[in-house]
Amino acid sequence: MIDLELTDGWVEPELAEEFPELGLVHARVDVRPGGSPPEVKQRLRMLADRYTGGKVVHMRQDPVPWAYRVFSRQVGIDPDQDRTPVEAVALKRLKQGGLRSENVVDDALTIAIAETGVPLIALDAERVEGELGLRLAREGERLGDVRPLSARQLVVADSQGPVAVVLGEVGEHAGVTPETGAMVLCALGVKGVPRISLEEALWSAAETLYTDASA
């Protein structure tokens, strides 16, 4: 039986005013990363079989992928260039002819994203300080002291600073490594995506990770 405590992250008032339904739900998962067990690889194969060219083309009209496309557009991203996570998974499937297993964390995120359409990221729980939330990057701020962020860029942040770019990369300083002992899974919610979809995405990813732990 999985025990998952879902927490709502904070959202900076300026951002909440612009996007009232924007949210971040996260949950701690006490699992160490590793290779994927056969059951997870099998699940990836079954998931890959569900994709067809026509389905991928029409995916942009499905409610959840559409909601993330709209949000991408509203924050200045071209979703046909920088794909939303669910479309990126679908495109990868078409290009590679399948969904290759990488490691249990990436596989768990891929499965959850493909099944629910909700973007997820995994962070190292021990390298995150305080509460997680969404805010705008400040002038001169960097992602893990390496990658410069543009002013007013949307980021996932803890009390120390940005840990990931919204719908983008995770900072190396906060990402999951082979030494990680526990993770924080984060799901991004936007207008048009029901809360239940975010919860389902987190439960789906956690379930896959615990499959590995119990194997």
Partner: protein, 159 residues
């Protein structure tokens, strides 16, 4: 009276802040509606793979809160690209309709359309099927005027 008219409007040292919230909300709603239309046009062009896809570039700088001017520019770009894509699709579907009519005419009177060939792509359908007006029994058919429409199907096997 001239003194009153010459008096500057407003109070010195007091800055007037414009409330952009209503305008921003309207623009975001317009972008949402236009993105939906863009998706519809994109899906309507499938499977016409050779047609240019309506693409509106991002604003650069990653996901960020756009300024009012940027939102307006984005809205205008989206509207312009959608209009162009709709026009191109409309032109294309008109040609496809003509080709469908041609297939019907070929079926009704093959001798009037000797050697004419229409492919599935010409009528906006996927696959390698084509309709070809050919003589029955080769040269004998040509000499006798025995023409028929041969419908081929299936794509060549990959080598």
């Amino acid at each position: 009276m001239p003194d009153v008219l010459d008096r500057p409007v407003g109070f010195p040292g007091v800055e007037t802040l414009t409330d952009e919230r209503a305008a921003r909300r309207t623009l975001l709603a317009q972008v949402e509606r236009l993105e939906t239309e863009l998706g519809q046009v994109f899906c309507a062009t499938w499977p016409r793979t050779e047609m240019a896809r309506p693409a509106v570039p991002g604003r650069g700088g990653g996901p960020r809160l756009l300024s009012l001017a940027e939102l307006e520019e984005l809205r205008d770009d989206l509207a312009g690209h959608i209009a162009d894509a709709r026009r191109a699709l409309s032109d294309r579907t008109w040609v496809e309709e003509q080709n469908r009519r041609l297939i019907e005419e070929m079926m009704l009177d093959p001798a009037r359309h000797k050697w004419r060939r229409v492919s599935a792509e010409d009528i906006g359908e996927p696959g390698c099927r084509h309709w070809h007006v050919r003589p029955r029994w080769s040269f004998i058919g040509m000499l006798m005027g025995w023409w028929r429409v041969v419908v081929s199907s299936g794509c060549p096997l990959a080598t």
